[in-house]
Structure formats: structure tokens, C-alpha cells
């Protein structure tokens, strides 16, 4: 497998639209960002010969919505103390995060070509000491939520409006540290903390139901003191609405269950447990590329 060459690093720099931009434009912007991030991520995994493509694809709409229209973080203010924080707890989808950071200008697009190469800053799990825009070195599961609670506490102590978002995998919720953190979030009434669960119902080798069933997840989160919202995790409108509503319920942290499909929307990959960290063959790669490129938004594909 050849390494990803610079010519495959086609992601354009995007950035948020101006605040007055209408919802239709905003959603089209997010959709096109997500589509291009997916294409790039597919190339990343195919050419690197490794990665977690299933989880990447299930998380990309959430990442594109956050970076495209919600977070007040951009390449120019990655060190601003008052920036919103996004913590990727499911660190194994680092490829999706790098691709998103490249799409929104945090790192050079060309740098994606180094993904997983020896001495690259783009390791299989994110490293904040090497990549701007990363808030925590995650990878072991169950770490992001406590860190997010700590940041949300710091904002509360500062009486700052800055917001905290953390993306956790659903299988990851089997780690007890998440529930420790949820108790503390509720106790401290961290209503500017939003936990997003990538609820694709698949973990490494099986469904969550077969492994350690999380349901009824909404009831569990509610019992831990969270305001619980369920959305289609591939619907940018639903994501945008809930992620922009902070606080969602005053006095309560928010728990967004984003229903997703691992591998979405690639036909042979979607909701298929085999694609946790499988690498597409050349034929599979070309088919996926064809499907993703066909989905271009007619109005925005050129302008962006």
C-alpha cells in the first residue's frame, strides 16, 4: 500500500460562515464539509493502510457540525483562554479529527499525507503537544468525559460563557470513569457541558447489545442528572440545533445521544461490524469514493 501522497490531500480550507448566514447556507456548508472530510478520511485510511474508518465515518457529521458552525475555535484562536473546548474522547478516530482540523485550517492539508508515518505528528491517537487544536491526548477510553468536566468546572469558576463539548463512543461508556464524571457534572450543575454520544451500537468486535448492553441509555443518563436529547447523528440540522442550545436545560449538563451508523454512508461499510479498523481494498476504496463524490451538494460544491 502506497503512502498518502500530497496530491490526495485535496481538502480545501473551509471555516465558519459569518454569523448572519442563514440556516440553509449553514447546513449546506456543514454538509459539504462533512462530505469532503469523509473523502479525505477514506484516502487517509486507504493509503496509510490503517485507521479506524468505521468510527471515523460515524463521527464525521458531529465533528463537521461542531467545527463548521458551533465552536468558537479556529486556527487563529487555538490558544485563546476563552475558546470553546472540544475533547475527542474516542481518540482512535484521530484520523477523522485530523481531517476535520485540516478542513477548517488548523493544520496544513498537506500534513495529512504524513498520517501514521514514522515520526509524524499525526499519530494513531491525538497528541496536543504536536497538533494545534487538540485539547487532550486521548486514546485509552473513558478519559475525555472527566477532562471535560474539569474544563467545565474551570469555566464555571471563571464565570465564563465558554462551552465544553466531549464526544464519546457508546462502547466507551462501558468504562466506569464516565459515570464517575457524570455524577460530578450533575453535582456541580455544569449546564455548559455537552456530552455527545456517538451511538452507533457497534464496538470493536460485536454489537454493544451483545457485549454489555447500554440500554436504556437515555434513562441512565437522566438518572445521573443530565438533560437527555436524542438526535439523528447524521442530520446536521438536528445536530446544529441541539449543539447550539447551551444551556439546554438550566442547571443540568446535556447528554446528546446521536444515533449513528459506523461506516456511514458507504454502502458496504455502513452498520457493518467488520469495519471497525479494516482497510478498504483498492476496489472497495474506489467504490466508496464514487459514492461519496456522487453526494456533492449541487450549490456549494464549487464555492467551498
Amino acid at each position: 500500500m502506497s503512502a498518502l501522497s500530497a496530491e490526495h490531500a485535496t481538502i480545501p480550507v473551509m471555516g465558519r460562515l459569518a454569523p448572519h448566514t442563514g440556516r440553509t447556507e449553514l447546513l449546506a456548508h456543514i454538509a459539504e464539509a462533512a462530505r469532503q472530510i469523509r473523502i479525505q478520511d477514506l484516502k487517509l485510511v486507504h493509503y496509510a493502510g490503517a485507521g479506524h474508518i468505521g468510527g471515523d465515518m460515524s463521527a464525521i457529521d458531529i465533528l463537521a457540525t461542531l467545527y463548521g458552525a458551533v465552536l468558537n475555535v479556529g486556527p487563529d484562536n487555538v490558544e485563546d483562554p476563552e475558546r470553546d473546548r472540544f475533547i475527542l474522547s474516542k481518540g482512535h478516530v484521530a484520523g477523522a479529527l485530523y481531517t476535520t482540523l485540516a478542513a477548517f485550517g488548523f493544520i496544513p492539508v498537506e500534513q495529512l499525507a504524513t498520517f501514521l508515518k514514522p515520526l509524524s505528528a499525526l499519530n494513531g491517537h491525538p497528541n496536543r503537544r504536536k497538533v494545534p487544536g487538540i485539547e487532550a491526548n486521548t486514546g485509552p477510553l473513558g478519559h475525555g468525559l472527566p477532562i471535560a468536566v474539569g474544563h467545565a468546572l474551570s469555566a464555571k469558576l471563571d464565570v465564563s460563557p465558554r462551552r465544553t463539548y466531549v464526544l464519546v463512543g457508546d462502547g466507551e461508556l462501558q468504562e466506569g470513569s464516565n459515570w464517575e464524571a457524570m455524577m460530578a457534572a450533575s453535582q456541580y450543575q455544569l449546564d455548559r457541558l455537552t456530552v455527545v454520544v456517538d451511538r452507533n451500537r457497534l464496538q470493536q468486535g460485536a454489537t454493544t447489545k451483545e457485549t454489555n448492553d447500554l440500554d436504556p441509555l437515555q434513562d441512565k443518563a437522566a438518572a445521573f442528572g443530565f438533560a437527555v436529547v436524542e438526535v439523528n447523528g447524521h442530520d446536521h440540522g438536528e445536530l446544529l440545533d441541539v449543539l447550539s442550545s447551551v444551556p439546554f436545560r438550566p442547571g443540568k449538563p446535556t447528554f446528546v445521544i446521536a444515533h449513528t451508523h459506523k461506516g456511514h454512508p458507504i454502502s458496504y461499510m455502513s452498520n457493518n461490524v467488520a469495519w471497525h479498523h479494516k482497510v478498504p481494498s483498492t476496489a472497495e476504496f474506489e467504490l466508496a469514493l464514487e459514492e461519496l463524490e456522487a453526494a456533492a451538494h449541487p450549490r456549494f460544491a464549487k464555492e467551498l
Binding site: 483562554p81 473546548r85 497528541n127 496536543r128 503537544r129 485539547e135 487532550a136 491526548n137 486521548t138 486514546g139 485509552p140 473513558g142 478519559h143 468525559l145 472527566p146 477532562i147 471535560a148 468536566v149 474539569g150 474544563h151 467545565a152 468546572l153 474551570s154 469555566a155 469558576l157 471563571d158 465544553t164 466506569g176 470513569s177 464517575e180 464524571a181 455524577m183 460530578a184 453535582q187 456541580y188
Partner: protein
Amino acid sequence: MTEILTRNESLRDRPRFDCRDSYVKTLSELAEHDHRIVGVVNDSVGSSKLDAFKKSFPDRLINVGIAEQDMVGVAAGLANGGRIPFVSAASCFLTARALEQIKADVAYSNRNVKLCGMSPGMAYGDLGPTHHSIEDIAWLRAIDNMTIIVPADPVETAAALRWAAEFDGPVFIRVSRMGVPQVNADDYEFRPGRAVTLRNGGDVTVISNGTVVWRALVAAELLADQGIEARVISMPTVKPLDVEAIVAAAAETGAIVTAEEATSKGGLGGAVAEAVVENHPVPMRILGVPEFAPTGSAGFLLDRYGMSPEGIADAARATMARVR
């Protein structure tokens, strides 16, 4: 190198101090002048003696409940938000239960978190090995980007805390509970990675830290009575290590004994042995805790494992005897 004490006959009889008192006094003073400082505890307000801190700064003492993984992750998040968290928890639970958070969230992420291990070693003597924290130094020494400090007395505890508050990065400080006499001068200045020579001597060197330093000083008195001049080095910073002082001791005295209230595998003794073997091999003896300790107070157990003043003196003579 600073010579502070030359005669210590009375060390055994001097007043003993619980270093947690120095800890909370210093932390409160620091917090008074730096609003970024917060305490983070796992229901350990009382066991960390933080009641006074809580009274002075009620909003700045974060109690996450009995949840160590969350406690350290929360501290990393507080640091992300610009705060300087001092995590205060029993060292056994802090380091064992949250080891991966210490590795990933604090050290690897390079967050400005101060991990304060309360009542380390065998301070919870008769509560047994579940509550002993003899492994903490060895575990944390294996983690990159982690400064490890084991103060010997209240003066050094305060000085190390003041330094840690200024330093931007991960630090682990052991805060002793078992009473210890003051061995450092009142105007002692802590310098990271620097050993303190408390007594000069050319026949053998005893390197120790924490609660064992005063015992080493008394051992040197016993040796002096027998005509043996022992160098006594206090090594508050286990990491980074003062290799220069160790190599000089090896070269100039020819025999080294280490003694610590921690496991004899991979702690201060291990660190010194690595420096000695790589730079200037000489006979060594590593005193520490070799097993899950039986029931007994910390003082009783230290004596049992050869770290009474007499035991340390015996080890020094035996090690000298191995010098060709």
C-alpha cells in the same frame, strides 16, 4: 552542596511534625496570592487536612467524591481551563487507581497538575498493604514528563510546594503523615533535581529521602562513634535525579546505601543504582520494603526492614566491607 547539620545526636528526641500541616498551610498561602490554585479531592478533605483551605476558599476546593479516575481527569481539565489544581488524596488510591489518567491526561498531555500523595509509604501502617503506598514512586518514575518529589520534613514540604506552584508542568509530591523531625534549615531552598548533602564523609554514602532521612542522619552518628565517616545525602527529587551528586559519592566514598519508605524495587534505590551502574559501579545496598508488609505502624515496619538508625548503620558497614 549545602552542609546544614553536622551533629544530630538529638534528632531522635526532637519534636516530630506531620507534613500535612505544612502542606495545607503552604497551599493556603499560595492560594491567597494566586487565584488559579484550586484543590481537588476524592472525599479526602479530612485525610488531607484541608479543612482550613476549604474554609478559606470554599469554591476552590473541588470534591468529586470517591472517584480517583475522575479526580485526576477533572484536574487535567481544570488545568486546560487555566487553573492550577493541587490534587490531594491518599497516595495509594491516587497513584494506583488513576495511574492511566496520570500517564495520559497529565504527563503525556503535559498538563499543569500537581499530584499530592497524602500519607504515602506505610503511613497507614496497620490498615495493611491495601492502604500502603510503597509502589507509587516506582510506578510514576516509569512515566515520562513527571517530576517526583519526596520531602523529608515540613520545611522541605513547604519549599517543594512553592516551587511546584511556580513550575508549569506535572509534579508528584509525597506528603508524609508519620511524624518526622526537621532536618533542613529554616531558610532551606528547594531546587528540583538537586541533592542536599546533609553531612559530609568519605567512607560510605547513605542516600535517602522522605521519612528516612533523619534515620540516616542518626545512623551516621552511630557510624562516627565507630570511626566511620558517612556522607548523608538527601535526595528529595527522585526524578529528575541528581546524577552528579551520586557519581561523586560513588567515586569519593566507594560504597552506597539507599534507604526509603517505599518498595525496594524501582524507587529511589533503583534510580540511584541505574546511575551508579551506568557511570561509576560500586557496591550498593538498597533498603526498602521488599514485600506486602505485615501489621504494624510505619515506624515499626521501617525498623523491621532494616531502616532503624542501627539497621542503616549495619547496612553501611556491610556494604563498605564489600569494597575491594
